[in-house]
Symmetry: C2
Subunit: 434 residues, 2 copies
């Protein structure tokens, strides 16, 4: 008999059907009757267990036991979903006899984050946790769909590098057959190289950051959704593309994840057709004027500054997103293109989402001479980035791109308190398991 | 003016349009006239440069220079594509003045593989190389689409592990903030854990194998397309799913990559609705009978054996795919489910594609007791895999899955001589750059 999923019961009223899943809740009544909530990949439905034989067949089973069940579909307005299963006959596929590390059938999991993460193998089965990662999958899907439709080609670039890429700092070292190698901090160099091949490329893949700090908004391994495109006017072309990507992801979530958004009580972000934009030195002026903090000589924004700017964008422009453009060249990597009108500032941007940096991007240098000069100015050698800069000897158009942190996006979207909750099995300085 | 791509010329006959791209070929005639082939992300078109001013404006430019060009679209049956651009006015975006390491506009690249890989930054721009990686992107896309439609959820599992996963052998060690960690050989443990959450999961991500050998069909980093599903009858449920996935990928390539398949002269594989299947010991018998080689006591098949079997499948069943089931338990990892009828053999399979192993998969153990026994039988401790086996205390259905090597698939599909040609920037024992 074909297996029926919990969201398909309405198609089988009065029929004898076959289901399978986890015993999510088991409620025994004084009368001897048992209500079982069966969880499968489509949701949860209720099974009414009345006959003494059926009750006996599940006696001793604890929640998360896996069963097959044959039963009759009955319309029951009081049941969640409107239907339930009666007269069940169970086959036990996996018997659980130990209590869970913490209950997972409550709306909120009552466990310390560390305890949860230690037992994520089971904790992730909680419906609200599932919902977070279904949103995450849908966001990655949305990213790819939007870019596929715009002529981008997906690429897979190496994560093991012979030299310590971009900054040289904060990279993990590997023993590579007795040689020293490094884990990629980002696909930056490769996605630029691939603009020379496909013009428009993207990659959704893990990146590795050996940053030795423990914060609620950093992980040492995360999923980066990277895009890079050629034949741009300047960074504003990239910002327009990013705006389309963000709006495309959001509408794809709205279309496909209604159940998850509702369960997590997500306030869908305000994402106008054009995101408001503020130029870095003007943002600093505004902070000084409105919050009295003088950061006008700082080369970067602090988290509190981003928070103020995010509030301002929301109040003034009805937008949960705000572009900050023109970060000082001294704080941007060597491949960053300067603002031709004022080369102290860059043709780069951050996109703040609800007052937290979500995306970094910008225009890159594209002539070999500019790379040679930029490296020299920073005391870097051409040898260290030889393959990369060879690309620029052989014709590269004006280009730029951006990188969205997938976990960061999901954290800000769903209002999680800690980025670790947006990764299935997060990695930080202390955590390497599960 | 909006940029027009090279495959859109037919929509603009007689109009003055704006294009941009790379000077793919530059052919000077005795008359002083110049034919430029302009390459953009959509293809190649011809520009006829006649006026002395226009000829002078591109004087000294070598191939791969990047230009914008304004010109008039003219129907010209003799031109590739049927249209060309006349009366061009060029703007140079990037001037190339050095010869390429090797020419990239010929149908076949005349460079040693090592030379090619050293300069892949430029070599990948060759149309036939581009086509390989467009097929690769489309294959990954097809894999995800088929599984999305079958209720699978995409997951992102960690690549940095605290313990040396599955086999313990052939893993790369990382310095993780002074602790020793390892790169994931596969998402095996995590995808099984996630069956407990979503029932059906997949991941397309890099895996890392520290295998110290140099062959034409191994890489030390590659893209693994992994799937895992619960509530199976046995490995045959997984094989049926895999068959749908392979057929789905192939039809998605046929639908979306006609130009690439033609350029690479790909013989589309024969992929019948049911792939033929042979049981491991019977395959050995067949090899003995038909090729005189007695491998009946061997625990595995050698590449030559796979080749013979592949030829047999093609001749006998008109299939480029062949399942070999029932590999001996001694050669399969500890989580493999045995064949209940003969526990020397496993409920696992390989899928051969044109006589080479493409996919490995099978049914896994799903009870904690079976894991405990399997670990003990192999002299492994439960501590080493503590988080993983905790999952099986808390209810896991019968499940199984498979992993397809993306590069291997593309190599076999397109008939490449070396797996390195199917990776943008391959990693082997000797190669860490570019």
């Amino acid at each position: 008999m074909e297996r029926v999923l919990s969201n398909e019961l309405s198609l089988h009223v009065g029929e004898r059907i076959h289901m399978a899943g986890w015993m999510h809740r088991i409620r025994k009544l004084g009368s001897g009757m048992v209500f079982v909530h069966l969880r499968d990949r489509a949701g949860i439905c209720q099974i009414v267990v009345e006959s003494p034989e059926a009750v006996a067949s599940i006696d001793g089973l604890l929640v998360e036991s896996v069963v097959e069940v044959e039963g009759t579909v009955v319309a029951e307005p009081q049941a969640a979903g409107g239907y339930e299963l009666h007269d069940p006959a169970f086959t036990v596929l996996a018997r659980v006899t130990e209590a869970l590390p913490f209950p997972i059938s409550k709306p909120v999991i009552n466990a310390h984050l560390d305890t949860f993460l230690d037992h994520a193998m089971v904790g992730l089965r909680a419906p609200a946790k599932q919902a977070i990662f279904r949103l995450s999958a849908a966001a990655a899907h949305g990213f790819r769909s939007v870019l596929d439709a715009k002529g981008f080609t997906e690429i897979a670039t190496p994560k093991i590098l012979g030299t310590a890429s971009e900054s040289g700092a904060n990279v993990f070292a590997i023993d590579y057959f007795g040689k020293k190698a490094f884990l990629a901090q980002s696909p930056q160099f490769y996605k630029q190289i691939m603009v020379g091949v496909f013009e428009r490329v993207y990659e959704v893949a893990p990146v590795f950051r050996a940053e030795p700090h423990q914060t609620i908004r950093h992980l040492n391994e995360y999923v980066s959704m990277d895009a890079e495109m050629g034949f741009i006017k300047d960074h504003t072309t990239v910002m327009a593309m990013l705006t389309d990507v963000i709006r495309g992801i959001l509408s794809s979530l709205a279309d496909h994840c209604g159940r998850e958004l509702e369960l997590l009580k997500v306030d869908m972000p305000l994402a106008p057709e054009m995101f408001p934009t503020v130029y870095f030195p003007e943002a600093q002026e505004w902070i000084f004027e409105h919050h009295g903090e003088d950061c006008r000589n700082e080369p970067d924004l602090a988290p509190q500054h981003e928070k103020w700017l995010g509030e301002w964008a929301k109040q003034t422009f009805d937008s949960d997103f705000l572009f900050v453009t023109g970060y000082p060249m001294v704080k941007r990597p060597f491949y960053t293109a300067p603002n031709p009108a004022d080369p102290r500032y860059s043709n780069s941007f951050d996109l703040l989402f609800r007052g937290t940096e979500l995306v970094t991007g910008g225009q890159r240098l594209n002539s070999f001479e500019d790379y040679a000069a930029a490296l020299e100015a920073r005391g870097m050698t051409q040898e260290a980035v030889a393959s990369y800069i060879e690309t620029f000897r052989f014709g590269m158009p004006p280009h730029g791109g951006f990188a969205i942190g997938l976990e960061r996006f999901v954290m800000q979207l769903t209002g999680l308190a800690n980025l670790r909750e947006a990764a299935l099995f997060p990695r930080d300085m202390e955590r390497l398991a599960p």
